[in-house]
């Protein structure tokens, strides 16, 4: 017998609105990316890749579900209601995942940019003063390490293959790259999160760490990330004003539940 394990305390209720904003951003990012990437199931370039992509999409939905659970505990709601019963404009995912999945090159570029930025964010959140969040993040990071290996292998493969693969890769970086920093842009209530230690590192510092992490990799392949779009760096627009691709996705993922919101499964 060992010492009795302490139960995780709830997240501090006094920090409610700011903490809600952080959890919603984490959850919506993974939910939207996971749902969009799951569209490759059955149509990925080859069978092994189909399995890998589906696994990673499942991971993202699992992570989203765990963040929604923390959020639901905080606001006494149900995770499914938060995920599926919100209007499209209430989602707070970043501008990078707001792009549709596009072709395979775009999906791979988006995954790599998101996974690397998310890794920087999670590394910081593992030290969060919110114990339930910090504990969950430790587990999420272990799973994400497989995604990072996968993403980097594909980036490398597409970049080194002259002709169409590299051309499509460059096009994808030009299209989604300017929106990639929105993953790490400060949340509107960042000051409260930093003061309380729930988010230990400000967005601006996370962005600098991320650039230092990815720029040498891109440079090694003769690539570079285009300048950030102003909307991606503005806390008021980094996670709002969603486009047509997301509205289509939202219509799809909310459609079954909308048929009968009270049904039990």
């Amino acid at each position: 017998m060992t010492a009795r394990a302490e139960r995780p305390p709830g997240i501090e209720p006094g920090l409610g609105p700011a903490t809600r904003e952080l959890l919603l951003a984490l959850a919506d990012d993974d939910f939207v990316l996971g749902f969009a990437d799951s569209e490759w199931t059955g149509i990925a370039p080859h069978l092994e890749e189909d399995v890998a992509m589906s696994s990673m999409a499942q991971d993202e939905l699992g992570h989203a579900s765990a963040y929604y659970r923390l959020l639901a505990d905080l606001v006494s709601d149900d995770p499914d209601r938060i995920a599926y019963d919100r209007p499209a404009e209430a989602f707070r995912h970043n501008r990078l995942v707001d792009h549709g999945r596009g072709d395979w090159a775009r999906t791979m570029v988006r995954r790599w940019l998101y996974d690397t930025a998310n890794a920087i964010r999670l590394e910081a959140l593992a030290e969060s003063t919110s114990r339930p969040l910090a504990e969950l993040v430790v587990k999420v990071r272990r799973e994400e390490s497989y995604h990072l290996l996968h993403g980097e292998a594909w980036l490398d493969r597409l970049a080194r293959h002259r002709g169409e693969p590299r051309r499509r890769l460059v096009e994808a970086i030009e299209l989604v790259g300017p929106d990639a920093p929105s993953v790490l842009t400060a949340l509107p209530s960042e000051a409260v999160l930093i003061d309380s230690g729930i988010q230990p590192v400000p967005g601006a510092d996370l962005l600098a760490r991320w650039s230092a992490r990815i720029e040498p990799v891109l440079a090694g392949l003769g690539l570079s990330l285009p300048a950030a779009s102003p909307a991606a760096l503005d806390p008021d627009t980094a996670r709002s004003g969603h486009g047509a691709a997301f509205n289509r996705l939202w219509t799809e993922f909310s459609s079954v539940r909308a048929l009968d919101p009270e049904a039990t499964w």
């Binding site: 995780p8 092994e48 765990a66």
Partner: protein
């Protein structure tokens, strides 16, 4: 698995927890029925405090679809203990916890043997991402002349390998 009783618990509480432990050890993992949830190391803690029996489970993977099924099975199988007035258990609560990450080290020696016997290579010890780069040991012939075919297998916790010695495809239970 840690088993706890509150100081105020009666001596019979230890017998009850013994029964609970036996029941948990008889529940098979739904995706790999050869191994029990206890040998797999996902039961972190069992506690009986003031009539509340709490079982804490660690997910192998956060998005594991079997988790809800395991939770329901544990509740269902422990219900007879709750229904027995002499057990002192008035309520059973099965929780999913992230208090520590599940890792391959949590699989018991009996669990590793059970995995091998059913054609799964158990996860190997050592730094986790390096184990992906190192060849897995074939559960059929014991050769290390194997190649990783896909880090992502038929379920989240399994990777796919091929043994060039006995020409047999096999799966490895992946570290979480």
């Amino acid at each position: 698995m840690t088993v706890e009783v509150s100081p105020a618990a009666s001596p019979t509480a230890f017998d009850v927890l013994g029964s609970v432990r036996n029941i948990l050890a008889s529940i098979a993992d739904p995706e790999i029925p050869a191994i029990s949830i206890v040998d797999l190391g996902i039961v972190r803690d069992v506690e009986l405090v003031d009539g509340m029996l709490q079982v804490e489970l660690l997910p192998t993977y956060i998005g594991c679809p079997a988790l809800e099924m395991i939770r329901a099975t544990v509740s269902e199988r422990l219900d007879p203990i709750r229904a027995d007035p002499s057990s002192g258990v008035r309520q059973v609560l099965v929780t999913i916890s992230y208090a520590e990450p599940w890792t391959a080290e949590r699989i018991s020696p009996a669990g590793r043997a059970a995995l091998r016997a059913s054609g799964f290579a158990p996860p190997e010890a050592g730094p986790r991402l390096l184990t992906l780069a190192r060849p897995a040991t074939c559960p059929y012939c014991g050769s290390r002349r194997t190649i990783l075919e896909n880090a992502f297998g038929p379920t989240r916790c399994r990777s796919i390998h091929y043994c060039t010695a006995c020409r047999q495809p096999f799966e490895q239970f992946k570290d979480g």
